[in-house]
Structures are given as structure tokens and as C-alpha cells.
Symmetry: C2
Subunit: 333 residues, 2 copies
Amino acid sequence: MRVAYHEVIQTLEKILLKNGFSEDRASLCAFLFAQASLDGVSSHGLDRFPVFLEMIRKNLVKPNNEANLLDSYGVFERWNGNLGPGPLNAHQCMDRAIQLSKEFGVGIVALQNTNHWMRAGNYGWQAAEAGCIGICFTNTKPNMPAWGGSEPKLGNNPLVIAIPRSKGHIVLDMAMSQFSYGKLKTYLREGKEMPFDAGFDGNGNLIKSPESIIDNELALPIGLWKGAGLSLLLDMLATILSGGNATFQVGESREEAGLSQIFICLDAAKLGVMEWSDEKLDQIVMDLKASLTFGDKEVRYPGENNMKTRNKNIAEGISVAEDIWREILNFSL
Amino acid sequence: MRVAYHEVIQTLEKILLKNGFSEDRASLCAFLFAQASLDGVSSHGLDRFPVFLEMIRKNLVKPNNEANLLDSYGVFERWNGNLGPGPLNAHQCMDRAIQLSKEFGVGIVALQNTNHWMRAGNYGWQAAEAGCIGICFTNTKPNMPAWGGSEPKLGNNPLVIAIPRSKGHIVLDMAMSQFSYGKLKTYLREGKEMPFDAGFDGNGNLIKSPESIIDNELALPIGLWKGAGLSLLLDMLATILSGGNATFQVGESREEAGLSQIFICLDAAKLGVMEWSDEKLDQIVMDLKASLTFGDKEVRYPGENNMKTRNKNIAEGISVAEDIWREILNFSL
């Protein structure tokens, strides 16, 4: 079904207010959930909203705890998220990184003690819309094996790189697992195999069948040992720069709370990049899209369809599964 | 065969002096080639030295052209490599990023118009040995397809992330292709299939057989569409921040010259990270290495064996293929 954007926002706001959010915070938080669905990432938008409310009810996410500054070193700041709502903390820290980059050319914020930021790409779009190159990443609970390992030790640690461009920002939003558990579960429900190797069976063989991958939490790191290494290093960077929890510590609590995140901005104008960046980016995009392809495939750049999807959903209403929307409406009663 | 470290250094120095290098530059360049082999990465050390000399003879690499500063914005600087030797330019720019980070906490150098830096990991070790978190990446000529594409459009754009640690630095050094062309050629020579999917055949199917992958330059990006996206974004970042060539422009010249690179340092001491970083990193490493494994596999962290290999090669001499060493000795006559 499709629900009008303003109706989605109003409904989420009302629920958040009932759950202890102040007005401003309810409004921004509703926007961030709605934006994910608006941009076609409902897995980390409306679909996730009931889980988010559950985390609030368990007191793992504290609605009105704001992030506060711990240490300031010019371009680099360390913040404490105080276990507040992940989307609000992330939005605040990317905003702070943007401000720092407008002042110094570069801004880096390391955030400890925060919660799941939901759709990672939101914060990349936020940076790009402010004219900044934005890079951010988060750790997660352990949900992938190390290379050779038979138990989850690494997080899938999503990474975002966003580059502003007049004809459409380029925004890469990728977790370190080949497929998300959400995608694996969808294929399982539909009784299908994954289109590519997706994880390991109980003997360490690469498999496409979602069931045992989900049961054993042995999702495949992208590029096998390479994505496993990259995931580890992102966790280490987020942990030591923020002074917060590592993936293994998040795992010990058995709840995905108390995460560590990094937000990096480079202001294109301040660093003298504006003079040539649009032209260079357009050339790269043109060359890429002119690629010969197999069959009738089309080559796309990351984020290419985002605005098309957003505009369609603004015009026609946000696409949401009926049972999810019914569940959300129940929370508003 | 094995050749003593000092003999390798002396031989390379002598050849570089004969090829127009000044004394200081010959000495550092010899060290950087030797270090790659010393650390077990001979594919980008001694094995590559004859190709490097060929690039000098073609006047694509200009021995005594030094990098010079183009723009300075506090923590961020833009440099021109003036088509000098890639290893010397990269070493100089990582050194400059280290200096900036010692002053500001963070230092970023974008380098245009440089050449192949040979072993990427060298510059990660350089940063870590200076007490800095070091991140660097380079673009390359096109050597991988875009997702869906049937011709090389993306570079394999190596990425390095290095984290200093008292008990052993953690250094990730990975290209965006699942296997290097060097590795593919080794398997081809030995008449073997790759152990995992390594690229595409002429119909876009994933294959393990190296021959047609090499012929068509269709090496597999790590994580399929994900590594393709990451490679693209690294090229865009290196290009627009440095103001230099993009991968497609490097490809137009049909020689791998005039590359764009980024060097990022965060000084651990300056950012207040020293207080906890060793303890946190040791805990993460311990947890990782305690992983249950399939069979008798051992889980390792990136860079774990580097110092062991280095020390063995210092003691016993650097391992080098006889024909390569003979070729190098001929250049010294």
C-alpha cells in the first residue's frame, strides 16, 4: 500500500511524542525514518520503526538523551551519545562535522555510546546536501565470521561515502556483508536461493541457501578475507577514535546498543574543489555509463536512482507493507 | 634464492644512480623497493623493479622531479607529483600528512600527477611507525568492469588503513579486485583454477579460470556490485580532491602514469587516543583470534605476519626469483 508522506510523518511524530520524545526531537526522528522509506530503503525506515519502539520500551534507547561534547581538538571532536536515539545522534554529529568542515575545510566527529542509526545513507545525503564530501561508518553487533572462523566475530559495519554533485549527488551506502539479514530472510520466506554466494554452511563451504546462514549468523563478508579485514579495521577505527565499545563488546550485551561511529566531512568549497569537481564527476559518470554491458544491463552509479524514487514516493505516497503500517498505526492509538 | 638485505639495497641504489637519481633519492627509492620484498610482497618489490626502470626509460617516470605544494588549507594540502617516481612522491606525501597531523591532530594530502606507488602497505607502515592512524588510496588504470559491464572501466584502486599498536601495528592493504592480475598470472602459469570466483567470462558468468579474465581484463570487484561502487567512489575522491586524473583518463594514455592519490593521518597522541587505544586494540585482537574456526584454520589480523616475515628476511636474506635477480644485476652492469 502507499501512504502519503505527510501522513507518515504525522503518525510517527504522534507515536514518538507518546513515547517521551520532545516535540523537536519527535519531528526530526519522524523525518529520518520517513526519509529512509521515501528513498526506497524501507528495511531501515518504516519496517524498522516497531523494533525502534521496542528498544525504547526496553530502555535501551533513551528518547531525550542528547549527545554531548567530550573532547575538542580543532577539526576533531569526540562526543558521547548517552544511549540516545541513534538517528538523532548521527544526524547531530554529521551536522557538527559539516560545521567543522565549513570552518576548517575538514571536520571529524567520533561518537561513542550511541544506538543504531537506521539508514546509513541518510547521513551521506545530509553531508552532500550541505556541499560536503561525507564519509561515515558505524560498528554493529557481531554478525559475520572472521576469515576461517565458524562463529560471528565481525560486525557488518556499514560505510557511507557521499560526494556532492550539481547533477545528482553520488552516495555509496554499503554494509560489509554481501547481503543483509533482511534480504536473506526475504529470500527464505519466498523459498528462494540467493543469487550469489551469501555465507557459509556449518562446514565452512560457501552457500547460497539463506536458512543455515541465518541460523549460524555466518553471512559472507564482501570479497571474502578482504571485507572481513575492512570490517575489522572500521570497528577498530570507530572504537579507538570514539573511546567507545568495540563490536565484541556490543555482542556481550546481547542487545545492539552502545555503538561507536565516525563522521567525516570535507567542505568542497573551502578546499577549492568546486572549480573542477562538477566537470570531473560528470566526466567519470559519463564514462562509466557508456560502458559496454552484458545483455541489456545498465550500469549505474551509487545513489543514481535515489532522487527518482524519492520524488515518486512524494507524489504517490510511501510504499509500505500493510501489516507494518497496521502495526505502526496501533502504536498511535 | 635469497640475497642479503644490504646487497639488495646497494644493487638497487647503484642502478638508480645510473638512471639519473640523485643520491638521497636513490637511497630512499631502493629502500622502498627492498622493504616490499622484505615484508613478503615481492610482487610490488623486486619483481616490479625492471618494470619501474622501463617506465623511467620511456620518460614516463621522471627520476628527479619532486612533488611540490599547490594549495594549503591548514589540515588539508594539495600537491603536484610532477610525474616523479611514485614511491618517492607517496612517501613524501604520507610524511607531510604525518607532520600535519602532529600539528593539527589530522592531516590530509591530496596528490595529483604522480606514478604507481608500488607496494601500498609501505605508506601505512610509515604512518603507524610514526604513531599515526594512516589511510591512503590511489586510483589506477581501468582494470575491472563496472557492475553489469563487459569492459574494464574501474581501477582496482588499492586502499590502506593502518592503526598503530605497541604489540604490532594493524595494517590492511587491499585492492578492490578479489585477486591481483599478478596472482591470476601465477595460477595461469601453473595451469590452475583460482580458489574462488575471480572474474567474468565473455558472457558475464562468474569464473575461476584465469585465462579469459586476464585476456578481457574482467577481474572481479570484491563483493560484486559493492566493491565496484567502492572503487568508483575512491577514484572520485582521489580525482576531485587532488584535481588530478580519473581512472578513465589514466586509461586513455594507455600507460599507467599520472595517478591521483590521497594520504590521511590522525595522530593518536594528539587526539587523546593513547590513553586507551592499546588496551582496546589488544582486546579486539584477542577476541578475534579466540574465534572458533573451521578445521585447523587460524584467524589472523591484517599485517599480523609482516614483522615475522621482515625479521626472517633480514636474518636470512630477501627471497627473490633467480631470473628476476639476474635481470636486476644486468641493469647494474
